[in-house]
């Protein structure tokens, strides 16, 4: 018996054609409505009174060109700090959350310490932590004081470690107890259970909020500049102070958004994938 080649029925062909037409039609409608709204916005913005002044003080191309090199070299500092601090905060957060979810009465002090840590550093304003570490601690004049960037990075890691620890803990506690029971009944130790069963599921589940916190960290690393180093925003501030024009801030803002786009895209993609998995699609 040979398989006949599949020939779609008359009805199926019509259905496919109809669907294609519908797709083309909706794309056209979307494009024209977007164009219409865009035109309206352009007319409303450029026709508004004071638009010329807005352009002068926020969108001056010559000043933007002059400020760009300084802002970019500041942004390089932000990027380096972000990579180091994000890695540090993720590791610290994971460790704290694992300590906070340990079982048994013997670990009570460890759990209490971990809980106290998250309460403290989620409640403390980042500025205070930064000031204490970058300007307060060096005042002790101890031997082998690390440079100010390291101290600033430490402040960020401590603060964001607190946030991320809570996100990880939510993930760990969202794994159903039956998973744990099943793993233990197979003879896995507690450590193996955490390593192979609980944490993989937990981390996957909380990936979107984790990445969200990393995006927030990306904007906060610049605060290290209050201890002296020049980051992108500080470079923009200096350029603005010299030209009395706010364009450098816009330049820095645009660069930050561009920097965040890949991270946000990854977050969206991970969220979408998780949602598809949940709905079994």
């Amino acid at each position: 018996m040979t398989l006949r080649e599949h020939v779609p029925s008359e009805a199926q062909v019509r259905r496919t054609a109809y669907r294609r037409r519908q797709t083309v039609y909706s794309v056209l409608v979307a494009a024209s409505s977007t164009a219409a709204l865009g035109m309206l916005l352009v007319i409303a913005v450029t026709g508004a009174p004071g638009w010329d002044r807005v352009r002068q003080s926020f969108l001056d191309p010559a000043i933007a060109r002059d400020a760009l090199p300084a802002v970019l070299s500041g942004l390089w500092l932000n990027v380096r700090l972000l990579v180091c601090c994000a890695a540090g905060a993720l590791v610290l957060g994971l460790v704290i959350s694992v300590l906070r979810t340990l079982r048994g009465p013997i670990f009570f002090p460890v759990r209490a310490l971990a809980a106290g840590y998250t309460y403290t550093f989620r409640g403390l304003p980042l500025i205070i932590v930064l000031y204490l570490l970058t300007l307060g601690v060096p005042g002790l004049r101890l031997q082998g004081m690390p440079p100010v960037l390291v101290l600033g990075g430490l402040a960020l890691v401590l603060t964001y470690g607190g946030y991320l620890a809570e996100v990880f803990r939510a993930g760990i506690e969202s794994v159903h107890p039956s998973q744990l029971a099943a793993a233990r009944s197979l003879g896995l130790t507690y450590r193996q259970t955490m390593r192979h069963v609980v944490l993989p599921q937990a981390v996957r589940r909380v990936a979107p909020p984790l990445l969200n916190d990393v995006v927030a960290l990306q904007k906060d690393v610049g605060l290290v500049s209050l201890a002296g180093p020049i980051d992108a925003v500080r470079a923009a501030q200096i350029a603005t102070a010299q030209s009395f024009n706010y364009t450098p801030y816009i330049v820095a803002g645009v660069l930050f958004v561009l920097l965040a786009i890949p991270l946000i895209a990854v977050t969206d993609w991970v969220t979408l994938r998780a949602a598809r998995r949940q709905s079994g699609g």
Partner: protein, 287 residues
């Protein structure tokens, strides 16, 4: 229902119109022009006490602007400048009387009980709304300060700061002095306020801090007593300018401005600055 939603729409439209009108740009007014005053001969000068010149300053008057809180001894930069201006206007030392007026009182609008006030008043547009200023008698210089224990304390030349870690407050001429004149190899450290910068200096996180000269005298004299002024940096950017303060629309303004202008041209003010700020007060010139 329909009427209430229409009312809402009308209100909203009205609000939009009002908001748009509120966003309309302001019209800039032209600056008022100064009226020329009569001749500047001593006899025709309408001073508070005819034939006398009443000069004001704050109490206490600080070094190095005045000496020993005695403005009438002619010592200290501003006391010397005041007597030089008086002399240009034709007043002998005996014809000058001093009075004491609080800084904030002097720059506030209202009638004044002095002919002019000399008290490190920076000339600003806001203050010009309330009082008159003479031409500047001093352009504020930027200065490097350091702890006495620092490696840069005692350095004499601008080229000596290549290896220094310098700091300044953001958006100031002090920062420009680092990037345009001192040009250290390491990136300057920038702070939100001079308080943070002073802390970093005390911590040893920076070798030197750049501030303007009046601030430098204050910091090294009162705040961080183990800090010292390393030296003055050549003029950079648009410096702050100190002017003699007079009553708004005072008939003396143009004459006092003329006197200051003559002193500037003759190089007298430069000499006084050299003598009282660089030599006596110890803020050496970096070259």
């Amino acid at each position: 229902m329909a009427s209430s939603s229409r009312l809402f729409a009308l209100t909203l439209a009205g609000a939009v119109v009002v908001a748009t009108a509120g966003c309309a740009p302001q019209v800039e007014k032209p600056m008022p022009t100064v009226i020329d005053s009569p001749s500047c001969a001593k006899d025709s000068l309408p001073t508070r006490t005819p034939g006398k010149l009443t000069i004001a300053t704050d109490q206490p008057a600080y070094e190095p602007w005045f000496s020993k809180d005695k403005p009438d001894n002619g010592e200290g930069f501003e006391s010397a400048v005041a007597y030089a201006v008086a002399e240009k206007l034709g007043y002998a030392r005996a014809d000058v009387t001093w009075t004491r007026v609080k800084f904030d009182t002097a720059i506030a609008p209202g009638p004044k009980n002095f002919d002019f006030d000399i008290n490190q008043f920076s000339i600003t547009e806001e203050r010009k709304q309330a009082v008159d200023f003479s031409a500047p008698y001093y352009l504020v210089r930027q200065t490097v300060i350091a702890l006495k224990s620092s490696k840069i304390a005692g350095r004499k030349s601008l080229a000596d700061f290549r290896d220094a870690r310098l700091g300044a407050q953001v958006g100031t001429t002090s920062y420009q002095a680092i990037t345009e004149v001192l040009k250290p190899a390491a990136k300057p450290q920038v702070y939100n306020s001079n308080d943070d910068a002073k802390k970093a200096l005390q911590n040893g996180q920076i070798d030197g801090l750049v501030v303007d000269l009046p601030t430098a005298f204050y910091i090294t004299g009162a705040e961080i007593t183990d800090a010292t002024i390393v030296g003055q940096v050549p003029q950079v950017g648009t410096p702050e300018a100190f002017g003699l303060l007079l009553d708004k629309n005072s008939p003396l303004t143009s004459c006092v401005t003329g006197a200051v202008g003559q002193l500037t041209e003759a190089g007298t003010l430069k000499q006084l600055e050299q003598k009282w700020l660089a030599q006596v007060a110890g803020a050496a010139e970096l070259r």
